[in-house]
Symmetry: C2
Subunit: 420 residues, 2 copies
DNA sequence: GCCATTTAATTCAACCACTGAACAAATTGC
DNA sequence: GCAATTTGTTCAGTGGTTGAATTAAATGGC
């Protein structure tokens, strides 16, 4: 009866390439696997069939392929229900492929391994000031961590299916780090430098390619990863020495045409404000960057790692220090102004404060929310949520590793047809 | 030999629902039709097969379906080439489905018909001040235009396959206009009000559903439509009484989670600036909105339609009037500040000035560019292009009609399986 | 304890759409 | 006129889904 119907079926089906015969199975593998990955309670084959509209016969055949490829396992104990033959629950395999997440940051290196279920199976952080080191030396240290991560994966029966490296800077499409100001890197060819290290290039099982990506972007994915039931679209703000943002839309990272999206630190907050090191005036970073906040709190000149600085500030603020409280309020207000612009533009309903901001969320949230309430046109209809990130400093490495397994879940045929 | 490879194959294949048997054909219809739509020179079946990777046999079968559905026709004169049997060119059909674009704005109503090829086959604008009218009366006038557009389509042998209505306000997912400040509308149920009008609801050939959408969003699509070879990602800024923006990413409109994206007018430019009618301080609209610019140019209180106001300003500026020039420079600078934030955040490389701004682009572009050069972090690597919109006031209606035909091209199976 | 009932999963013939090769069609060049 | 060449169609073959029938495994009533 609905003669007039407002439909908004944008991108219902969006396939780029041609659909050959085998693509059918390829696509249905992804459909079924996604369905299995999307819930905590293991679904049965029948349930998947009912949900997706596929036949039970097809689902069985597809699931057989997935089980053969160790992407899925059957739940041992039958989840007890009413009458009838008990369903056999299906869940993501804990022994199949896994993702390797790596991070190079100003004062630490990190590596972690995440399996298909999203569990972090290995995690190692090495504190080290990288600024005095050359990029090649820094990466040598990283290769060391990657090797141990690989060994841990092997021990656990996992096969690394890919790696993602988080870098605090602008990365181009070929993995070249164009600029990482806080590391002092410029035009560093990371894949080239890593090519000599066998642990990342040609180990067991046909090597994983390495993706190099901005740290704030991967940290945002980490948040997506850490809250399975959470929102699929949000802005993740990383407050480090600089301020980066990762934009997640419908569960996918928005990277911009060149992968350089998310430069929130240089969004103008007050066009007549102080001069930023980027040359412009009044960038957010001059108000809410680590240096500015520390200076305002009377801690100027303290050359601290990001998380130490945040913790020091939190301690001061917790003890009621007025300078620290004022500094945080000012930073929160500036952040709120910048984020209000983003929210007005993109119509997001969730903002996540990550990096150093996570530690300080208690003091930052109120002024941010106040600005959002004032400035977001649609805040009257549906308020914006602001909350601290679920993960801390490990966020980017975990997010990177998670992006590898997400890719496998999105397109399992690549893994299944790999050369054994 | 490329052992280490930076891959960024995001969303290579992204299908939401299950893939049933018939979906194969459904998807390939879209693949082939998109290929035909994407070039000016009509491709042959063989060429399509080579490009897409499908077999010539498959392409022939698919093309037969498309021709039967009047989506495609064969080019009459064989495009002469070297040896061999001459190819028969394929082009989009000029007599199949068409899109109906409608617009309700402060001082005019508009309707247009766009066919599959993108040609505007009918266009009518009716100047009328809608502010004193009730929404129902305004829509009655619109139905009138729609009826004539339908008649014109019928005469041309076209079948309207859908309609899109542009409204200068916030529209929710069900087509309810939550707020259209310049029309004085609030919570207007447009589909409900139109339901009684047969010309839009149940005419020939199983009625098209109507999509109600923000005017700035559809205007952005109009730009996409008017420049077939142009960039597929850009920010389109509509300078009217308010300032709206449409964000186009990879050829698709970005609507935000609720369709309320693009509120550029209320992005903060100077947090301590003048109070905006939205309640916040220093919104872009208080610097570059029509009212502010007219006031600064010494034309305060002139209650003009947007395009008249813009033309009046252009005349003044063209004759060297210092107040007008200063007003435009100030507006351009504020616009540049706001847009710089957007570009930093989304990594876009093209900004289109539309609506009244198109007329004034000559004076607005320089200050906008100057701010972008200063404030966009990546401007050193690849500069941002700022240019006037290709279409004028008709942009939103044409963009709406274009969105209907774009949807058909993206998913032709819906049209082909329609009840005859 | 046995059997009807119920739900889950598998098997199998049918069918749909793509595949690959062979073939027919239409033109150029010698 | 004939070989060469390229386009488009025909047709048997095949992969993968479909739908119904069948088997599997549990519950509950008597």
């Amino acid at each position: 009866m609905a003669v007039l119907w407002h439909c908004q079926e944008v991108t219902e089906t969006r396939t780029v390439g041609a659909v050959r015969q085998g693509s059918l199975r390829e696509l249905n593998l992804a459909v079924v696997l996604r369905r299995i990955a999307s819930t905590t309670r293991p679904p049965s084959r029948a349930e998947i069939a009912a949900d997706t509209g596929l036949t039970r016969a097809t689902v069985s055949a597809v699931v057989d392929d997935l089980i053969a490829g160790r992407l899925v396992t059957e739940a041992d104990p039958a989840p007890r229900t009413g009458a009838g033959r008990p369903a056999r629950g299906l869940l993501l395999g804990g022994t199949g492929p896994a993702g390797l997440g790596l991070e190079v940051n100003v004062d630490y290196l990190a590596a972690c391994v995440v399996d298909l279920t999203g569990a972090v199976r290995h995690h190692e952080v090495r504190r080290i000031d990288l600024r005095p080191l050359s990029p090649a030396d820094a990466l040598t240290g990283l290769v060391d961590l990657a090797g141990r991560a690989r060994a841990a994966a092997d021990d656990a029966g996992l096969t690394l299916a890919g790696a993602a490296l988080a870098v605090p800077g602008l990365v181009d499409a070929r993995g070249l780090v164009r600029l990482a100001p806080n590391l002092g890197w410029r035009d560093v060819d990371v894949p080239g430098l890593l090519a000599g290290h066998p642990a990342l290039t040609d180990p067991v099982d046909g090597v994983p390619p390495l993706v190099v990506e901005n740290e704030a972007n991967l940290a945002a994915l980490g948040e997506l990863h850490a809250r399975p039931g959470g929102p699929e679209s949000f802005l993740h703000v990383s407050g480090e020495i600089g301020i980066g943002a990762g934009i997640v839309l419908d569960g996918a990272l928005f990277r911009g045409s060149r992968g350089w999206s998310g430069e929130l630190g240089h969004v103008p907050v007050d066009p007549g404000g102080p001069t930023c090191r980027c040359g412009a005036r009044g960038c957010l970073e001059t108000y809410a960057g680590q240096e500015a906040v520390l200076a305002a709190a009377g801690l100027a000149g303290a050359d601290l790692p990001a998380d130490t600085a945040a913790r020091r500030l939190a301690d001061l603020a917790g003890s009621g220090d007025p300078a620290a409280l004022a500094a945080l309020r000012a930073a929160g207000t500036a952040l709120g102004v910048a984020v209000a612009g983003v929210v007005n533009l993109l119509d997001l309903d969730t903002v996540v404060l990550g990096g150093g901001y996570a530690t300080l969320a208690q003091w930052l949230c109120p002024p941010v929310l106040a600005e959002l309430d004032d400035r977001v046109l649609t805040s009257g209809w549906s308020p914006v949520t602001v909350r601290p990130a679920a993960l801390g400093a490990e966020s980017a490495a975990v997010g990177g590793a998670g992006s590898v397994v997400r890719r496998i879940i999105a397109r399992p045929s690549g893994w299944l047809s790999r050369p054994q």
